[in-house]
C-alpha cells in the first residue's frame, strides 16, 4: 500500500488524499454475500476454504445482503431466480459491486442455446463489475477477479463522474 511500509515513530505525518485512505480501507474489507447458485458456488466455497483462503483479502461472508459490499453471482441464473437476484442486489447498501463468476452468469454458458429457462447473462438484470470466465473458474481465477475488483475500488472517486471505470 505504501502507507504501512514506513514506520510511524515520533508522530510522523503521512500525506495522502481522503479518497486514498477511504478506498484503501474499503478495498481491504470487501464483505461478500454468501450466496451460491450452482457449480461455481462449490469453487467459491473452495476459495474460502483452507487451500486458497480468500479471507486474507479481508473477505467476510455475510448471509444478509444488507451487510454486504459484493455479491458474487456464482452459477446459472434462471428466469425464476433472476427476479430474486435483482431484489438481493437492491437490498445491498451502496456502494455495491457484483462479480459475475463463471460462464453461466456471464453469458448463459453451455445453456445459451437450448436453455429455455436460463437467463443469458446476469448483466441483463444487475450491473456487473467484474466477469470471471471459466466453467467453473478455478479458485485462483476468482482471487484474480477479486484483485481486479480491488483495483476498481481503489480508483473510486467521490468527485469524478467516471467512478471506478478508469
Amino acid at each position: 500500500m505504501g502507507l504501512l511500509d514506513k514506520q510511524f515513530d515520533d508522530g510522523n505525518i503521512v500525506l495522502t488524499s481522503v479518497e486514498g485512505v477511504l478506498n484503501w480501507a474499503r478495498l481491504c474489507s470487501l464483505w461478500q454475500m454468501s450466496f451460491g447458485l450452482a457449480c461455481c458456488a462449490i469453487e467459491m466455497m473452495a476459495a474460502s476454504a483452507s487451500h486458497n483462503d480468500i479471507m486474507r483479502f479481508g473477505v467476510l461472508p455475510r448471509p444478509s445482503p444488507r451487510q454486504c459490499d459484493v455479491m458474487i453471482v456464482a452459477g446459472t441464473v434462471t428466469l425464476k431466480m433472476a427476479t430474486r437476484v435483482k431484489r438481493l442486489y437492491e437490498q445491498m447498501a451502496e456502494p455495491r459491486y457484483v462479480v459475475s463468476m463463471g460462464s453461466c452468469s456471464n453469458c448463459g454458458g453451455p445453456y445459451w442455446e437450448h436453455g429455455y429457462h436460463v437467463l443469458k447473462g446476469v448483466d441483463r438484470v444487475v450491473p456487473v463489475d467484474v466477469y470471471v470466465p471459466g466453467c467453473p473458474p478455478r479458485p485462483e481465477a476468482l482471487l484474480e477477479g477479486w484483485m481486479r475488483l480491488q483495483e476498481k475500488v481503489r480508483d473510486f472517486s467521490l468527485v469524478k463522474k467516471n467512478n471506478g471505470t478508469a
Binding site: M33, S34, F35, G36, L37, A38, C39, A41, I42, E43, M45, A46, A49, S50, H51, P63, P65, G75, T76, T78, K80, M81, R84, L88, P110, Y111, E113, H114, G115, Y116, H117, V118, C135, P136, R138
Partner: protein, 385 residues
C-alpha cells in the same frame, strides 16, 4: 378477545384461544439450503406444521439439452447436474449408452472408472459432512474436509485437467488415460486420508453438541423411505440394507470385498439425522477399501479400443441406474436410431430424497429443519436439473 391479561392466560390454558399459523419463507437465498431451494414453512409458534418446498430456481433444462445434442455431447451436461459427483454422473450415462449399443469396455477402463467413482464419492461425502457441520455450527470440520477434498481434486486434475466438472468417462472409454504415477498418488492419498476420518469422528461426529442437535431429529422410518423412493445414505440410514453396487451390480463392483453401511441408531433412533450422517462417514472408509483392492489388481491396456467411431445406438430404450453418492441415479434413455437421444430422463436422487422433507420435518423446530436439510444432502443442480 380477552379483556385482561389474566383472562387471556385463562383462555390459553383452557384451549379457547386459537393462534394463527405463521408462514416463513426460507430461501432461495439462505446459507443452509445448499443452493437455491425455497422452503415455505408453516409454523405454529416455533414448531413446524408443514413444509412446502418450491423448486426450480436452478432448472437448467438438462432434458431439453439432451434431446438437442448428440450422445457424447450430453456428457458435459450430466457433469453439471450433480456437480459434486460429476464422475458418477458420467459413469451412469456412459453405462446407459453402452448397454444400449452393446459395448463391452476394456478391463483397465472399468478399473479406472471404479477408482474415479469411489474417489469422487469420498470427495462428495466430504463436502456433505463439512457443510452439514457448518450448518449446525461447527466451522472447523469444514476446513478439514475441504483440505482433504483438494487432494482428490488434485488427482483428478492431473488425470483429466479439470477440478470440478470432468467430462471424463466417455461412451466406451475415457477421455484420457491416467497420468504417470496415478497409482502411487491414489495410494498415497488413501494413506493420508484414513486418519482424517478419525479426526472428523473426534471433532464432529461423536461430539456431544453435534449428537444433541442431530440424534432423534428427523426420523425416517424404513417403510416411509421406500414409499418415497429414497435411496443412498438416506435409505441406508433408515436401516434398509440396500446398495445398488451390491444388489444390482454394474461395472465390476462384484469383484471387491466391502460392506454396505447401514444406520443402527447408535445415538438415538434408527433413521435420524445422525444415522444418515454416519452412513456417509462409514461409506468413505468402504470406498477406501474398494480403491485399495482395485489398485492391487490394476491392469494394463488400451483405454480407447472400445470407443466407437460413430455413436448411433439402435432403436430402443433403457433404464440404467448407478449408485451416486446421494443415492440411485437413473437414466432413462430412448433412442430412435439417430445421433441425438430421443429422450433422456434423469432420475436425480436428491430430487426424490428431498420430497420426503415434509414428512420428516413436522413437529420439529425451525433450527431442526436446518439439520434435516443438511442430513438429506441435496445438490440443487440435480434436484432441478
Amino acid at each position: 378477545m380477552s379483556e385482561t391479561l389474566e383472562a387471556l392466560q385463562e383462555d390459553i390454558a383452557a384451549g379457547r384461544l386459537q393462534t394463527d399459523e405463521l408462514v416463513l419463507n426460507m430461501g432461495p437465498q439462505h446459507p443452509s439450503t445448499h443452493g437455491v431451494l425455497r422452503l415455505e414453512l408453516v409454523l405454529d409458534g416455533e414448531a413446524v406444521v408443514k413444509v412446502i418446498p418450491h423448486l426450480g430456481y436452478l432448472h437448467r433444462c438438462f432434458e431439453k439439452h439432451a434431446e438437442a445434442m448428440t450422445y457424447p455431447q450430453v456428457i458435459p451436461y450430466t457433469d453439471r447436474m450433480d456437480y459434486l459427483a460429476a464422475m458418477n454422473n458420467n459413469h451412469g450415462y456412459a453405462l446407459a449408452v453402452e448397454r444400449l449399443m452393446g459395448i463391452e469396455v476394456p478391463e483397465r477402463v472399468e478399473y479406472i472408472r471404479i477408482i474415479m467413482a469411489e474417489l469422487q464419492r469420498i470427495a462428495s461425502h466430504l463436502v456433505a459432512i463439512g457443510t452439514f457441520g457448518m450448518d449446525i455450527g461447527a466451522f472447523t470440520p469444514f476446513l478439514y474436509c475441504f483440505r482433504d477434498r483438494e487432494y482428490i481434486l488434485d488427482i483428478f486434475e492431473r488425470t483429466c485437467g479439470a477440478r470440478l466438472l470432468y467430462n471424463y468417462m466417455w461412451v466406451g472409454g475415457l477421455s484420457h488415460d491416467v497420468h504417470d504415477g496415478f497409482e502411487k498418488d491414489v495410494a498415497e492419498f488413501i494413506r493420508k486420508f484414513r486418519p482424517t476420518i478419525k479426526e472428523v469422528n473426534d471433532l464432529l461426529n461423536y461430539n456431544k453438541i453435534f449428537i444433541e442437535r442431530t440424534a432423534n431429529v428427523g426420523v425416517l422410518p424404513p417403510d416411509v423411505a421406500i414409499s418415497y423412493g429414497c435411496s443412498g445414505p438416506m435409505l441406508r440410514g433408515s436401516g434398509v440394507d440396500f446398495d445398488l453396487r451390491r444388489d444390482d451390480p454394474y461395472s465390476i463392483y462384484d469383484r471387491f470385498d466391502w460392506e454396505v453401511c447401514v444406520g443402527k441408531g447408535d445415538a438415538g433412533t434408527v433413521g435420524d439425522c445422525w444415522d444418515r450422517h454416519m452412513v456417509r462417514v462409514w461409506e468413505m472408509e468402504q470406498s477406501c477399501n474398494i480403491i485399495e483392492q482395485a489398485l492391487e489388481s490394476f491392469p494394463e491396456g488400451d483405454i480407447t479400443e472400445a470407443i466407437p467411431k460413430r455413436i448411433r445406438p439402435p432403436k430402443g430404450e433403457i433404464y440404467t441406474r448407478v449408485e451416486n453418492p446421494r443415492g440411485e441415479l437413473g437414466y432413462y434413455v430412448i433412442s430412435d436410431g439417430s445421433q441425438n437421444p430421443f429422450r433422456v430422463k434423469a432420475r436425480g436422487p436428491s430430487f426424490v430424497n428431498l420430497s420426503v422433507i415434509d414428512e420428516i420435518s413436522r413437529g420439529h423446530l425451525i433450527a431442526d429443519i436446518v439439520a434435516i436439510l443438511g442430513s438429506v444432502d441435496i445438490v440443487l443442480g440435480e434436484v432441478d436439473r
